[in-house]
Amino acid sequence: MSFAEISLVAALATGAAAIAAALAIGEPRRRTLLTGVLTAGCGAGGLLAAMGVLATGRPVEAEFPHLLPFAGLSFRLDAFGAVFVLVAGGGASAAALYGISYTRDHLSGRSFQALVPAFVLTLLLVPAANSMSTFLMLWELMAVTSLLLVLAEQRRSPNAREAAMWYGVMTHLGFIALLLMFSLLAAHAADGSFAAIRHTSSTMAPALRSLVFLLALVGFGSKAGMVPLHAWLPRAHPEAPSHVSALMSAVMVNLGIYGLVRVGFGLLGGGPSWWWLVLLALGAVSALFGILHALASTDLKRMLAYSTTENMGLVLVGVAAAGLFTSTGHPVLAAAALGAVLLHVINHAAFKGLLFLAAGSVVRGTGERDLDQLGGLMRRMPVTGAMFTLGAVAITALPPLNGFMSEWLLLQSLIHGAQSHVVAVAVAVPVAIAVLALTTGLTAATFVKATGTGFLALPRTRAAEDAEESPRSMLLGMGVLAGACVFLAIAVGVLAGGLARAIAAVGGVTSPAPFRVHGTTVSLPWQIVGTSVVLGVAVVVGVVAISVALRVLPRGARRRRTENWGCGRTQQTARMEYTASSFAEPLVRVFDDVLHPELDIDVTHREESQYYVESISLQRGIKDAFEERVYRPVLGGVAAWGRWARQIQNGSVHRYLAYGFVALVLLLVAIR
């Protein structure tokens, strides 16, 4: 038995043990503790297994022919799937540690405690599924467990039910799409196993292949929060308990990407460029739309959820680029783009998980999610504040942290791809570059807003004023992910080999020397490592040196604390400082064609004269354009159709008999 197999089995065993512990142990504190530890162990096991597979490139296989009627279960964890198991394992262990004290107070119930490890197990197993039936079953399990977890706090937050409804409906529409897609594929194959499908998919009719791809786009895209199928994401992710939000936003969405790549490249073996142009457009729109809404929203967790849509958009752009480059005969660039995709999936898991955990710790410390009500937390919750800042720097793709590496790689592959001689590519790619750049800039603005108004400045409410720091296990959970962010930045070169194996394992993308863009001076792994280390060292050393240098100045040793300079105002309060909404206002105004901000101001005058103002209240709402324009009409249409359908059956027996008779006649006519 190989190392990977052993650790995988260990992971499954501990996972099962965690569920058992959650159900068996009566005393809540011990239950949360043991379940958390075991779940973390399960995650760690998955992590190790993935590392083993990535290191050797040898897949782990298992067949259980009789476990499921007719189909049986078949697993095969190759290097590509291992990347996602890696992410799931790491994220799960951090979230579980965090959960120990996060859930102690109000979420220590048996069912909830048991659901978390179950969810983690599905996350670990989905990338290992090797047949249609196995995949669909695990996929559905994953959806159901996460759905129940979203509902966990329905008593405390009224929105949870509505969110869960959106999530349930949309994820099942996605499931139907996937079911259709796999049945189409399997219909042409000997059986439902991926190997068989891969074998015969090339013989399918082009139109059918395209249909399969589009269905995959719908099914997996909705899971990845791709616009316009994103509507559930900014609802469901914030409503779940924060460590579950972290798991959903950092790990589960990635599986949408996994499925898309697995089907698009692995099973279908690539396709015509218009597939990828469509995907490119959708990805770019998702990125821009997501970050604009993240910028405009003041709810901390909702903002993070929208930024997940944005990051998945970037990843989808990468996938599309890989597809385009493959279809136009640039396998090397395709490999680079796919490498960027995988790297960004890993990085995003690290910093998005970190940010969600930090947000959870804020919610726990203040009971507030609205940035306009927070402020000054950096001095009251120093560790959480530092963690959030780190995550913000990482997600803004600033050197020397990890987010920079993957965006750098993505941009490199795009810039070099723009030199393609296929005009469609040559025109589409610059647009993608522009969107990427704008997204980066807006991300910077968004997270300066979040950090600056949430953690810096003066507290705006009592809640923020008497916030207290979270217990140790939560900080530990964040620390793990923060460490991951730093490690991934400095030691990204370590991953290069594994990523190369993963790309090779996908199939459909074949590259002689992965990560080597020939004809230019870019040879990626080398340079990424070089860049990260050089920049990291340079900036850190610089900061330290300067801080020290200031101390040796004649008066540099100590600082005099003074009152803020308020232009001599006699008193200044937190009401005078910029809130999150006011910070975002200029950009919201610039992009009002997209965001359609609704502003209503009502001024109540004193009765004696309209020149004396009693109070002014200002409300700004920003609605999701796609919900307004797409969802409402569709839902309305469905409802109308339902009303029409009701007329058909009015309960009269004769009419039903008549239906039967007409049907029979038609049948006879048909088979004549």
Partner: protein, 219 residues
């Protein structure tokens, strides 16, 4: 001149013409917009001139010079008079705001390049490689014709459009059709004069050149 410099020169001129078209979307001052139009006309005519020189055909050179006088001289001057007579010297209410129309212009340019790729690959001469730029000018001109509120700036849009057509014609037929082009330019001049008279009338009647007000008259 060498082929390289010839091709580079064509690019440069066509590029100037396109940039001028884009700038008309950015500027608000009608006078500035008309000046940009003059610059563009000059660039387009110069393209014809360069091709004529390259072909060493006297007639082409002569006609190009005439076109130059017309596009960079007469038409802009007429327009300037028209603008100076007008009450409001700036494009106040474009139907699409400036930033949005600039982004739209970028997309139109991309579209132009994507759609004319076939033409470019058709012949490998340096002229044909510049055609996408001309086509982009056509699209941008059409765009500003469609989205500008004031009569003069709409006129400018129309003339941008015409310059684009001229450029494409010159490039496609590599200078031979300067005759045709000149004919077009002439009746465009005619159209401009007519429109000037009309707008002058509007001016005197309603005291403004705002087309929405015409709309109101209609209903």
């Amino acid at each position: 001149m060498t082929r390289a410099t010839y091709a580079e020169l064509l690019n440069l001129l066509a590029g100037i013409a396109l940039v001028a078209a884009v700038l008309t979307l950015w500027r608000r001052k009608l006078v500035a917009i008309v000046r940009l139009l003059a610059v563009q006309g000059a660039a387009v005519a110069a393209t014809g001139l360069v091709i004529g020189i390259d072909r060493a055909s006297v007639s082409a050179i002569v006609l190009a010079t005439l076109a130059f006088a017309l596009k960079a001289g007469v038409i802009p001057l007429v327009l300037l008079r028209l603008v100076r007579r007008g009450p409001d010297a700036r494009e106040t209410q474009p139907l699409v705001n400036v930033s949005a129309s600039l982004v739209a212009a970028a997309l139109l340019i991309a579209l132009a390049f994507a759609s004319t790729s076939a033409v470019v690959s058709l012949s490998s001469g340096p002229e044909s490689r510049v055609i996408p730029l001309g086509f982009a000018i056509v699209l941008v001109g059409f765009f500003s014709l469609a989205t500008r509120g004031k009569a003069p700036s709409q006129l400018v849009g129309f003339l941008l459009f015409e310059n684009g057509v001229a450029l494409v014609a010159v490039l496609a037929a590599a200078g031979v059709s300067v005759v045709v082009e000149l004919g077009v330019a002439l009746d465009v001049l005619l159209a401009v004069l007519v429109l000037q008279v009309l707008t002058a009338r509007m001016q005197d009647k309603f005291g403004s050149l705002d087309l929405d007000q015409l709309q109101e008259l209609h209903d």
